[in-house]
């Protein structure tokens, strides 16, 4: 494939098909929906990080005028433990049910305990305050190292360590120990002339989507459940509801509303089962639940805080001989941290003979971790890329030269033994080294320039789409992929390219689970790759069908009809796409097709970032002066949205590096559960973010596409830490690198 050197549509920058709705306020997000007779809910959340629930008395709440239903864990089926795939991670259904509503124990501050539906949200909020819960408060476990101690308070009554595949016998907070081994690290370290070993700590951080979770449910009298919600994957919601509510798939329809950001955090369900149960219990009224950001921060997301120890050794010539890492990731209240994906990222950009990785998934009294953009990758790369910077310094080498010398190429095997296909790691590092930013002088005191690299594996997955040709030559496209950042455009463009018609002729629509074939969520940087592949197949099928129609008109064999440059032809006969579409009625009626794909040849993504910082030695504040992000994207379908993905990933990475982090008090109460105190970057905190798009086409995709969205969040904290070192001579090993931490490192705290 990739036989096409030039494209008509791919690589251009058309306006997005849903643009007018989005800039006029007309686009309907979940919280914009109103249904006749709708009730509104409020959730009672645990004020304790760790407590046994002795009793719940809802009678006063139920007696409040306007209250229509109250639901507690007693209303949820007690489902069996079983592990279900959830896109970027997996989830144990029983634990997920325990997370939806606390059963026996509240396991984190903000854990949902009961939920009310009432005639107005104000009544529901008043009713929640009338619910009496009798708690036995238990000591919380908030720190991953503390949680791993043998005498730590135990969170779950059934958790035993999965020790490299063997179940342990004792109750523990360590859900699993994973190991990846390649070569012999001991021998590798003996060969090294220089070694660096450091320990890193990273804070719990949140995806920070601006739209809070919301769900509206109608549990009909006939048993059919309709859910309108903000999700990255409507079919994933259906799968989770089926298990949590223990109802057949056929009874559930999920309608994905416009989604106001997700970044991995809107794959898991939180409110959807509650809205469904409230609807059933309130006499089949539609019920809407929405969170505020205190709920979002304290009870959804986040991604794991972690402790990571890294040791790397290199020969005098810069060749890395061995790399070892020990990673302990907070899972939150239930197992499922992204530690294994962090293990995949940590030395991803490099070809290293000897690697040993040990990863631990550890439960603590925090909300259960959800996927967050390159899950587990940013913390891992922070550790590895700071160590590599120090190696370069000790070797007297340029940090990009050292990375290039060790860069992974096609055929190199990762620590897990899997060989890379055609990747653009070298091209990305070279583009960074050759970029004017890297060579530009950086005068001034307390200023420094840092670099870091990053990798992400990407994903494929299941996608479905269908299309019908209209008589004017336009095409209605129905896809199952939720559009979280412009994928209606990138998918329409690939269909237009295949059909050789203008992209404006494609009318895309994101459909509900009753209307389109099974499609995995918009996660894992998979949508433009896999759903793009689906519409490529779809386009080819439509062309095949239209060739048959032309053959019928011209009384020839379909194989004799060719399609080139938007024109069907055979001998001297010619019909444009639109002209042939206008003759559908006389050739057998509508031309429709649907396809389903599950491609497995996704290509990994690599990035290299360059950042200039200025450190204020009086306050410890770090300002970003200039930022350049280089990335191999395979083929940029819509370059503006590719740039946007890179810029957005950088911004989140800068936040993770400098200002974001959960602050819990000693009792485990989240002290900064608002968007004022959980400090995400504003427009004033960031400079313009320059992007450099490198295109090493993925040979495993018809248009060379690789996933784009996740890898840009991987390098920023490490690049900033390395820049701070160049600016003021101290290595920061704890995230966020807040003013207080910088002052402490400078010995001024």
């Amino acid at each position: 494939m990739n036989e096409k050197e030039t494209y008509r549509v791919i690589g251009t920058r058309p306006l997005r098909p849903d643009g007018a709705d989005k800039v006029t306020g007309r686009a309907l997000y979940g919280a914009d929906l109103r249904l006749p007779g709708m009730l509104y809910g409020a959730v009672l959340r645990s004020p304790h990080a760790h407590a046994r629930i002795l009793s719940i008395d809802t009678s006063a709440a139920e007696a409040l005028p306007g209250v229509k239903a109250v639901v507690t864990a007693a209303d949820l089926p007690d489902v069996e433990a079983k592990v279900a795939s959830l896109g970027e991670g997996s989830v144990n259904t029983r634990y997920q049910s325990w997370n939806i509503l606390a059963r026996e124990k509240a396991l984190y501050y903000g854990h949902a305990v009961a939920v009310v539906a009432a005639a107005s949200v104000h009544i529901a909020q008043e009713a929640v305050k009338l619910i009496r819960v009798n708690y036995e408060v238990l000591p919380p476990v908030l720190d991953v190292l503390q949680a791993m101690q043998a005498d730590a308070p135990i969170l779950l009554r059934d958790l035993r360590t999965d020790e490299l595949g063997e179940k342990g016998s004792a109750l523990t907070n360590v859900a699993a120990h994973h190991q990846t081994k390649k070569g012999d690290v001991e021998r590798g370290f003996q060969e090294a002339a220089v070694t660096v070993e450091r320990e890193f700590h990273t804070a719990t951080v949140h995806q920070g989507y601006i739209e809070p979770q919301n769900a509206t449910a109608l549990y009909n009298q006939d048993g059919r459940i309709t859910i309108w919600c903000s999700t990255q994957g409507s079919f994933g919601v259906r799968d989770q509801l089926k298990d949590i509510l223990d109802v057949p798939v056929a009874q559930i329809k999920v309608v994905p509303m416009e989604i106001g950001g997700g970044f991995g955090g809107k794959n898991n369900v939180y409110l959807e089962p509650l809205a469904a149960l409230l609807s059933k219990k309130s006499g089949h009224k539609p019920v809407r639940l929405t969170m505020n950001h205190a709920d979002v921060l304290s009870a959804t997301g986040p991604t794991s805080g972690s402790v990571i120890r890294v040791k790397m050794g290199a020969r005098k010539d810069g060749r890395i001989t061995a790399a070892q890492a020990w990673l302990a990731y907070e899972a939150g209240a239930f197992p499922g941290s992204p530690v294994t994906s962090g293990m995949g990222v940590i030395f991803g950009p490099y070809a290293i003979e000897n690697v040993l990785l040990d990863g631990y998934d550890v439960v603590v009294n925090k909300p259960p971790a959800a996927a967050y953009r390159a899950p587990g990758g940013t913390n891992a790369a922070f550790a590895a890329e700071v160590v590599i910077d120090e190696l370069a310094e000790k070797l007297g080498m340029d940090p990009l030269d050292l990375r290039l010398l060790n860069a992974a190429k096609e055929g190199d095997r990762k620590a897990d033994g899997v060989a890379y296909g055609r990747i653009g790691c070298v091209e990305v590092l070279e583009a960074a080294r050759n970029h004017p930013h890297y060579r530009a002088p950086l005068p001034g005191k307390f200023r420094g320039r840092g670099v870091a690299a990053g990798s992400w594996g990407n994903y494929g997955g299941k996608s479905s789409a269908s299309a019908s040709v209209n008589s004017d030559g336009s095409v209605n496209l129905v896809e199952g992929s939720v559009d979280i950042g412009g994928s209606r455009a990138s998918i329409s463009m690939q269909l237009a390219e295949t059909l050789q018609i203008p992209v404006e002729s494609i009318r895309p629509q994101v459909a509900d689970t009753d209307t389109v074939g099974y499609t995995e969520g918009t996660y894992g940087s998979r949508t433009t790759f896999a759903t793009g592949w689906a519409v490529y197949e779809l386009g080819r099928r439509l062309i095949g069908l239209l060739c048959e129609r032309a053959a019928q008109l011209w009384d020839v064999e379909p194989g004799q009809v060719t399609y080139e440059g938007g024109v069907f032809s055979c001998g001297g006969q010619r019909l444009s796409f639109a002209e042939l579409a206008g003759k559908m009625d006389e050739t057998g009626g509508a031309v429709v097709a649907s396809v389903s794909v599950q491609p497995e040849t996704w290509g990994p993504a690599f990035a290299a970032h360059i950042v200039d910082v200025e450190v204020d030695p009086e306050t410890g504040k770090v300002d970003i002066l200039r930022y350049t992000a280089v990335q191999d994207v395979g083929k940029a379908v819509h370059p503006a949205y590719v740039e946007g993905q890179i810029q957005g990933g950088v911004a989140q990475g800068v936040g993770w590096g400098l200002s974001e982090g959960y602050y819990y008090d000693a009792q485990g109460r989240l002290a900064n559960a608002s968007l004022l105190d959980y400090r995400m970057p504003t427009s004033l905190d960031l400079p313009a973010i320059e992007t450099v798009i490198v295109e090493v086409p993925n040979p495993g995709h018809p248009y060379g596409v690789r996933g784009v969205g996740e890898v840009p969040i991987v390098p920023p904290p490490a690049a900033i830490a390395n820049a701070i070192y160049r600016a003021v001579g101290v290595r920061l090993t704890t995230l966020p690198m807040s003013p207080a931490r910088v002052l402490e490192a400078l010995g001024k705290a």
Binding site: T24, I210, G486, A651
Partner: protein, 168 residues
């Protein structure tokens, strides 16, 4: 009059609108829930994110922090009132041309906020745009394309207003 409810007279996007509300209801809640102006988004609901931005007598406010009863006698401009009778406002057009939105939930707030900025300061510098917009959170874009869209719209609006020639 419904007991416990207050009558409020306003002008919304140029039209006279009288509504009944409870004293505890925010302007945002009334706009969205009672009057159907769902372009203003309810996100943080405590003044931190700017997604609910509207103009109240020409002043940029977070409508989640204004009580609906405070709007008595005032004029309100929401994102639904930004576009002219035909087509889009230049700000809206530039947001699309620059791909200045991804998920779009913050976009109405940004457009209202940018509109207010350009009313006050038709020739803002990049830093002035960044400072003005710091009350509107976007998690998708890194702000880069939003700032570019606002600066471009400002230049085009000046050109339109005065026949000023743009320096490329």
């Amino acid at each position: 009059m419904t007991p416990g409810k207050v009558t409020v007279h306003t002008r919304i996007n140029g039209e006279e609108v009288t509504f009944l509300c409870e004293p505890r209801q925010s302007l945002l809640e009334v706009l969205r829930m009672e009057l159907g102006f769902t372009g203003a988004k309810e996100c943080c609901n405590n003044g931190n994110c700017g997604a609910c931005s509207v103009l109240l007598d020409g002043v940029l406010v977070n409508s989640c922090l204004v009580l609906a009863v405070e709007a008595e006698g005032k004029s309100i401009l929401t994102v639904e009132g930004i576009a002219p009778a035909e087509g889009l406002h230049l700000l809206q057009q530039k947001f699309l041309e620059h791909a200045a939105l991804q998920c779009g939930i913050c976009t109405p707030g940004f457009i209202v906020s940018a509109y207010a900025l350009l009313q006050r300061n038709p020739r803002p510098s990049e830093q002035e745009v960044r400072r003005w917009m710091a009350g509107n959170l976007c998690r998708c874009t890194g702000y880069d394309k939003i700032i570019a869209a606002v600066l471009d719209a400002a230049a085009c609006l000046r050109e339109k207003a005065s026949g000023e020639v743009r320096v490329p």
